[in-house]
């Protein structure tokens, strides 16, 4: 067991973080808005935690205090929330592909900024972020409750007035407006909630990965989490959670498959290094054959009925 945890501990924690990022992308998508800004807020949250823990908080011997970690996550949430509103208000005037482009640009701006600012460590990034835990698997003590709480809050969100307003806008923005729903308000709200979640996940990830640089939360990451939401399912929070987990693990699985003896070299290489190609193909196939993703509300209802 111990050996299993040592080998797969980092992967399991990554999967939980992947699920959180899937949820952060899912939130704006609840209102039908395809935003790829999540990795930007993820990167921001990571830098906040990295800078605070290496430069602001006293670094004494021994492990980094967990309350400080939680404080960093809170600060990351607040900063991401404020920036989310500021970015969301102008960006959400755009629709569809234009919003996606604007959010990609936002992520790029943050990346270039972090590459060139001194406080973010430039291209090298920030190293030696203090560890609150002795081994990677112990990060689950924070990551798993965070995921479970987020899932509960999203479960609730979907069945209350706010969630209904989100989905009404997704289904038909014009009709939603005719029902007295202010589309801009709810789009910005959903976008901001997603930003907060991404920022919090980033703060935790910075400690977990021990180092943070401009390669975290790039356009590549957008594509991976977009895949997890679109294939996992974009109509219920269960979809992005499962999708986020599966697609975080997938590159590792592909890498293992690539080791199988007797595979043609080109195939082994594709499996090992071609994850973005694989994800791209999955996005295309998924949107054609499963426009709502694999985990849909109907599917969940069916499962519930069979259990009874």
């Amino acid at each position: 067991m111990a050996e299993f945890l040592n080998t797969y501990g980092p992967l399991i924690v990554s999967m939980v973080l992947g699920a959180l990022l899937g949820l952060s992308l899912y939130l704006p998508l609840m209102t039908g808005q395809l935003s790829l800004a999540s990795p930007g807020f993820y990167a921001l949250g990571g830098y906040i935690a990295a800078i605070l823990s290496t430069q602001v908080f006293p670094t004494n011997e021994g492990s980094f205090p967990i309350p400080l970690l939680l404080l960093e996550m809170l600060i990351a949430a607040i900063v991401s929330g404020i920036l989310g509103v500021l970015v969301g208000i102008p960006a959400l005037r755009l629709r569809g592909i234009y919003l996606a482009l604007a959010t990609i640009a936002f992520v790029e701006i943050l990346r270039v900024l972090s590459l060139n600012l001194e406080i973010t460590g430039g291209a090298v990034g920030i190293f030696g972020i203090p560890q609150p835990f002795a081994s990677p698997i112990e990060y689950l003590w924070v990551a798993l409750p965070l995921l479970l709480i987020s899932m509960f809050l999203l479960y609730r969100l979907e069945i209350i007035r706010f969630g209904r307003a989100f989905v009404a806008i997704r289904e038909d923005e014009l009709a939603a407006g005719a029902m007295g729903i202010n589309p801009t308000y709810y789009k910005v709200l959903a976008f901001t909630l997603g930003s907060i979640l991404a920022g919090v996940a980033g703060a935790l990830s910075a400690h977990f990965l021990n180092t943070w640089n401009a390669r975290q939360g790039t356009f590549d990451a957008s594509i991976i989490y977009l895949t997890s939401v679109l294939i996992g399912g974009s109509r219920t929070f269960v979809g992005p959670v499962l999708g986020g987990m599966v697609f975080t693990a997938l590159p590792e699985i592909l890498r293992a498959v690539a080791e199988t003896p007797g595979l043609p070299i080109w195939l082994a290489q594709l499996l090992r290094d071609g994850r973005l190609i694989v994800f791209g193909v999955l996005i295309v196939l998924g949107t054609i054959f499963f426009p709502q993703g694999l985990v849909t509300p109907d599917l969940l209802k069916k499962i519930k009925r069979q259990e009874q």
């Binding site: 809050l153 609730r156 969100l157 069945i159 209350i160 007035r161 706010f162 209904r164 307003a165 989905v167 009404a168 289904e171 038909d172 014009l174 009709a175 939603a176 407006g177 005719a178 029902m179 007295g180 729903i181 202010n182 589309p183 709200l189 109509r235």
Partner: protein, 267 residues
């Protein structure tokens, strides 16, 4: 009744020189009328006469190119659609715009959106996500009201079915239930009888009268079926090529030469 209807003080909605252009096309041209409280106001005219454009102007989906709309003494043409809806103008759509993936119940519950308790939005969001009693109570009330409306429309046996799976006539009914959920002052119905058989049309006309009295509504409706409009409406406005060519009680409008010409053509 008709005396009260004609009294000028009782106006709830007034259009003054309302005009809407799309490029070179004048879809609504200098239209003025006033709708009285508790009236059933019919809007008829040949295809392309500008009826739906007029509806879109009243619900602020479109800004007018010129002219004014006055609702209960307030200019509304510069408002956004959700603001007009919150003020009490609710509508259905000619080409039915339900939230198809959602259940009938959810559709009507969304119609209750503006009738939430008066607490700060952040407090409402947090209490809702944490399942606090105050939020649960509110959800229960919303659901109860929605179920009442669905029952009134005779849709209470399929409240959890997706709206898109409803037959056409039931979708129209569901859309009316959703519009009523806003508890509007004015209800705009865009071709409510489209696709219904004569028997259903007759029932619908009874039903529209009934909801007018029950909810103390003012109803403005677009309808092609002339006998239905003539039998149902207190007053009728006739549009042709964007212009108001006649306005008055059904018997008067029916015999108006301009109306006959618009409908039958000039020989």
């Amino acid at each position: 009744m008709s005396q009260q209807v004609l009294s000028k003080d009782n106006s709830i909605l007034e259009a003054k020189g309302l005009t809407r252009r799309f490029g070179g096309l004048v879809a609504v041209n200098n239209v003025s009328f006033s709708v009285q409280k508790h009236e059933i106001f019919g809007l008829i005219g040949p295809n392309g006469a500008g009826k739906t454009t007029l509806f879109n102007l009243i619900t602020c989906l479109l800004p007018p190119s010129s002219g004014q709309l006055i609702y209960e003494g307030e200019k509304i043409s510069q408002l956004r659609p959700h603001q007009v809806a919150s003020k009490g103008i609710s509508r259905t759509f000619q080409n039915i715009r339900l939230f198809g993936e959602l259940s009938a119940l959810e559709n009507v519950m969304i119609g209750r959106h503006i009738h939430s308790r008066n607490i700060h939005p952040v407090a409402a969001l947090v209490s809702g996500m944490l399942a606090l009693p105050v939020a649960n109570q509110q959800e229960k009330e919303t659901k109860q009201k929605a179920l009442e409306l669905l029952e009134m429309m005779g849709l209470n046996d399929r409240t959890n079915e997706k709206a898109k799976n409803f037959p056409y006539g039931d979708q129209r009914r569901l859309e009316i239930a959703r519009a009523l959920a806003l508890e509007p002052q004015i209800l705009l119905l865009d071709e409510p009888a489209a696709g219904m058989n004569p028997n259903e049309k007759h029932q619908l006309s009874e039903f529209i009268r009934e909801i007018r009295d029950r909810f103390n509504l003012t109803i403005i409706l677009i309808e092609h079926h002339v006998p239905l409009v003539m039998g149902l409406c207190d007053r009728i406005a006739v549009l042709d090529f964007g212009q108001l060519i006649a306005l008055g009680e059904p018997a008067v409008v029916r015999n108006d030469p301009a109306v006959i010409e618009a409908y039958l053509g000039d020989d």
